[in-house]
Amino acid sequence: MPEAVPPAPAAILAAMPITLTINGRERRLSVEPWVTLLDLLREREDLTGTKKGCDHGQCGACTVLVDGRRINSCLKLAVSLDGASITTIEGLADGSRLDPLQQAFMDHDAFQCGYCTPGQICSAKGLLNENQAPTRQEVQELMSGNLCRCGAYTNIVDAIMEVLEARGEARAASAEAAR
């Protein structure tokens, strides 16, 4: 099927200038349009804390915060984010002061291999920003885009509930949801 040959990519994929604020640092970058935010972070910015588990928006390992909202960075082309502010797992702690979620994840052993963990924590951070999941069951539902093959789910929810409680935002589960 020779007619299906796409045009030579080099011609159509000239790098474009973009500016991203990554973990508080402004970065002026030159990026080809086919580079995802995930691959930009991992392969070009050496921010490998953000993980690739599927590259298809199915696992959540690549979750980062863009202007405070959680997204799957594998589904986002970097050039579409010109001007955005991005927070990755490397940018959550304030110097040596950990984000309360990071500490809670350690205290509750909310991971084993740790590969899904940056995505879980960024997703939980986004969830807290959304102010929409005060009960345990809601947290479970709204954290279900982040797979953990090690099966740390119950500990992950414990960790998030602890942070919610510390912020005075947790609500007891409704009678129906209680187990």
């Binding site: 797992i89 205290d107 479970q140």
Partner: protein, 753 residues
């Protein structure tokens, strides 16, 4: 501060590698930065069997940035003999050799590796490689493969043939209560979150450093040495962090082979990462068929066990598991017969996945036991207790310990089992049927010869090291705790090194033997440091410890003091200063030894568990939720209750996946797993998981391994799916004998009388 936090064996400290993991600093195989890196993207073949007629690479090669395309036609020389391609844990057969020739053995087989200056270019060019094939007839249908069922003459090393006793056939015929059930388990893929990946660093002098996703860096080193005819000392394999594996990293996978091949060809550093789709083109839990026939007296005493199973393998290797032995070992029953064989399909070779054999065989046996309890009209927990055996019934040997009775009791109490009403469909809440099920789990408590080094410096810092792996299992933490326990140091003063083939010899991380084995090796090494310190102390002027032996002193807070007179002591730093020592360095090897081997033959070593499950079924919608699990585990001494609990949680979650979700579905016309992604191969998600309670019952066992540790990596999954399936029966009155139990199967099943 003199208050010592207890950090030794038995304390629930936080994982020592936790900080690296929550801050994104832990680097996995594809995450080590290398200047001038070449990116390799694998092209997967499209047919299940046949030969490659032609590869059209022209378009791909025309893409600017493409460096080379590696295929069977231009690959560098590799070893010819199968023997050179065998890794430490390979099953008998002829190992798969990627790009070896034009033969296609399974769908998704790598047929080319596109190498480019950037990942994006390599990925794009890989999509342009076209292949044409001569297709041969294939079969991936395991039911059809039963016609080719066979027992290979050369067995896998780990295979233990079932030992029969009594006359199971006659006893079954004569039994007043009988159950006969046929079970099926779908193929499952390990699907660790991290995809298999390798970063090969070309060191310029012919040597390579390989960051690989593996459960055994020394296994990969030796394998690569064999394949590429290299000296093992020119290969360093590192896996300091591994993003899960569950067995998929026991054998070297084809990406490491391809990455090293490319690095040698280009004399450059290369990274190859599989796609999630390609994670469905290598090892997997074998598909299985099992039939169980049980006979019992009316009082529920088992009189006959017949247990037969088949698992899938490939056409080029014979993978085998111990499937039928578990039930024969666990229950008191005078007549038992087991039989096992394998059947080949045209896929990649099946492989060990969390609790290989037991997760399949004990699960189905425990589902059959539930059927028998129901047939005999006896509570299923009571039924198990009536048939309890203190000894390993199949081998006729006592156990070093078996606190299964306690696990049943403590689990039942925590679950509230006494409030169960026995009849199926008799428990209801709102519009949901409620079901409670129970099952037993069993796994081996193994020990494997392991070496470790310890280096204590005069500033009080200790480094312990072994070529072990931590795949999320907590090995770093176990090693730190074993060291802290022996030398009384805080964990902050201990550095653990693992995941490096240059460190003292360790086995692959698998089979649940790592904690017991490397823990013992670290303890030995630290004891030898302790002895050296004690000797040096004895030589000190007015030696404060006199000639006390190791048993008479205590190590705590960086000091050694007399047990009987704690006021008499001396700081470790002071001893070393007095002796003029900068560092004490030792290496020790822990092995079962001869006495261990003899007692191994005379006694059985196993972990046990009792799993209780609650499900809720909305019959109108067919929706099943697993709302509660209690898993009571008897696994000897627990080094760290926090991380050990996580191991059990993980096993339970995977067990729920096995019961309800996981199934690699092949389209037999194409011979390919079609749901090869996370959207269609369902692993449990957060909302699927209800409450899980883990109980470790007390089981002191100084005999089983040097530390009394049995290991907890696999036991959590064994039997979990049975407890869930049995709960579904209790809720609905329907037996589904095929895992996973999906909505359609529950709809289609007929309620039992």
């Amino acid at each position: 501060m003199n208050v010592m936090q207890n950090v030794g064996i038995g304390s629930a400290i936080n994982r020592v590698d936790g900080l690296q993991k929550v801050t994104g600093q832990a680097r996995y195989a594809a995450e080590h930065p290398v200047p001038g890196l070449v990116y390799g993207v694998i092209v997967s073949g499209a047919v299940p069997k046949g030969r490659i007629l032609a590869l059209d690479e022209a378009e791909a090669r025309a893409v600017p940035g493409v460096i080379e395309i590696l295929t069977h036609k231009n690959r560098p020389h590799i070893a010819w003999f199968d023997h050179s391609h065998k890794d430490m844990v390979a099953p008998p057969g002829s190992p798969f050799k990627a790009l070896y020739d034009d033969r296609i053995h399974f769908s998704g087989q790598p047929i080319a590796l596109v190498l480019a200056e950037s990942f994006e270019v390599a990925r794009h060019a890989a999509s342009l490689v076209r292949a044409s094939y001569e297709v041969e007839p294939h079969n991936t249908d395991f039911h059809k493969a039963q016609a080719e069922r066979f027992m290979p003459s050369k067995k896998r090393d780990s295979f233990q043939p079932p030992k029969n006793r009594g006359d199971a056939g006659a006893a079954y015929e004569a039994a007043p209560v009988k159950v006969s059930a046929d079970f099926h388990l779908a193929t499952e893929h390990h699907n660790p979150m991290e995809m298999h990946a390798s970063t090969v660093i070309w060191e310029g002098d012919g040597g390579i450093t390989v960051f690989d996703k593996t459960q055994g860096p020394q296994n990969v080193r030796d394998y690569l040495a064999g394949v590429f005819n290299m000296s093992a000392k020119n290969i360093r394999v590192m896996n300091p962090y591994v993003g899960g594996a569950f067995g998929s990293g026991l054998r070297p996978q084809y990406q490491v082979y391809l990455a090293v091949m490319a690095a040698r060809m280009l004399r450059r550093s290369v990274r190859v990462v599989m796609t999630r789709q390609q994670m469905f083109t290598h090892g997997h839990r074998p598909e299985a068929l099992q039939s169980v026939q049980l006979g019992a007296e009316r009082d529920g005493r088992l009189t006959a066990i017949r247990n037969s199973a088949t698992t899938s393998t490939s056409r080029y290797e014979n993978n085998m598991e111990n499937v039928v032995n578990w039930g024969m070992m666990n229950y008191a029953c005078e007549n038992a017969a087991g039989e096992y064989a394998i059947a080949p399909v045209d896929t990649a070779t099946s492989s060990d996945m969390r609790a290989p054999g037991a997760a399949t065989g004990m699960t189905f046996f425990e589902m059959a036991v539930d059927e028998m309890a129901h047939a005999a009209g006896i509570d299923p927990l009571e039924f198990r207790i009536r048939n309890y055996s203190e000894i390993d019934q199949m081998n006729g040997t006592p156990f070093t310990s078996k606190a299964l009775r306690e696990a049943y009791a403590e689990g039942a109490a925590a679950f509230g089992w006494s409030r169960r009403s026995q009849a199926p469909r008799s428990m209801k809440e709102g519009r949901e049927l409620v079901g409670w099920g129970v099952a037993t789990g069993m796994w081996d408590a193994m020990f494997s010869k392991t070496s470790a080094s310890a280096r204590l410096t005069a500033n009080g810092h200790l480094e312990v090291a072994s070529a072990a792996s931590d795949i999320g299992t907590g090995t770093y933490t176990v090693m730190a705790q074993a060291a802290a326990d022996t030398l009384g140091l805080p964990v902050e003063q201990i550095t653990v090194r693992l995941g490096d083939s240059t460190l003292p010899t360790a086995p692959v991380e698998g089979g649940s033997w790592m904690a017991a084995s490397v823990g013992a090796a670290v303890q030995l090494a630290c004891r030898s440091v302790a002895e050296k310190l004690l000797k040096a102390a004895e030589k000190m002027e007015n030696s404060p410890l006199g000639s006390a032996s190791l048993d008479e002193v205590r190590f705590a807070g960086g000091r050694i003091s007399l047990r009987d007179d704690p006021a008499r002591g001396v700081a470790i730093a002071e001893i070393m200063r007095a002796a003029g020592m900068d560092a004490i360095e030792v290496q020790e090897t822990a092995s079962g030894g001869i006495s261990g081997m003899i007692s191994q033959m005379r006694k059985s070593r196993n972990t046990h568990s009792a799993i209780f499950a609650e499900v809720r079924v909305d019959e109108e919608l067919g929706v099943i939720r697993v709302t509660r699990i209690v898993n009571a585990v008897a696994a000897g001494r627990i080094i760290n209750p926090k991380t050990a609990r996580s191991q059990i949680l993980g096993g339970v979650v995977m067990g729920i996946g096995m019961a309800m979700h996981e199934e690699s579905m092949a389209d037999h016309r194409y011979g390919r797993f079609m749901n090869h992604n996370y959207a269609e191969y369902h692993v449990p998600v957060n909302a699927d998981i209800g409450d899980i309670q883990v109980i470790f019952v007390d089981e002191p066992d100084p005999e089983v391994t040097p530390l009394g540790v049995k290991g907890v990596g696999e036991i959590g999954i064994v039997g979990t799916a049975a407890a869930v399936a049995n709960a579904i029966f209790h809720a609905t009155g329907k037996r589904v004998r095929s895992l996973p139990i999906t909505i359609d199967k529950v709809f289609d099943a007929n309620p039992l009388p």
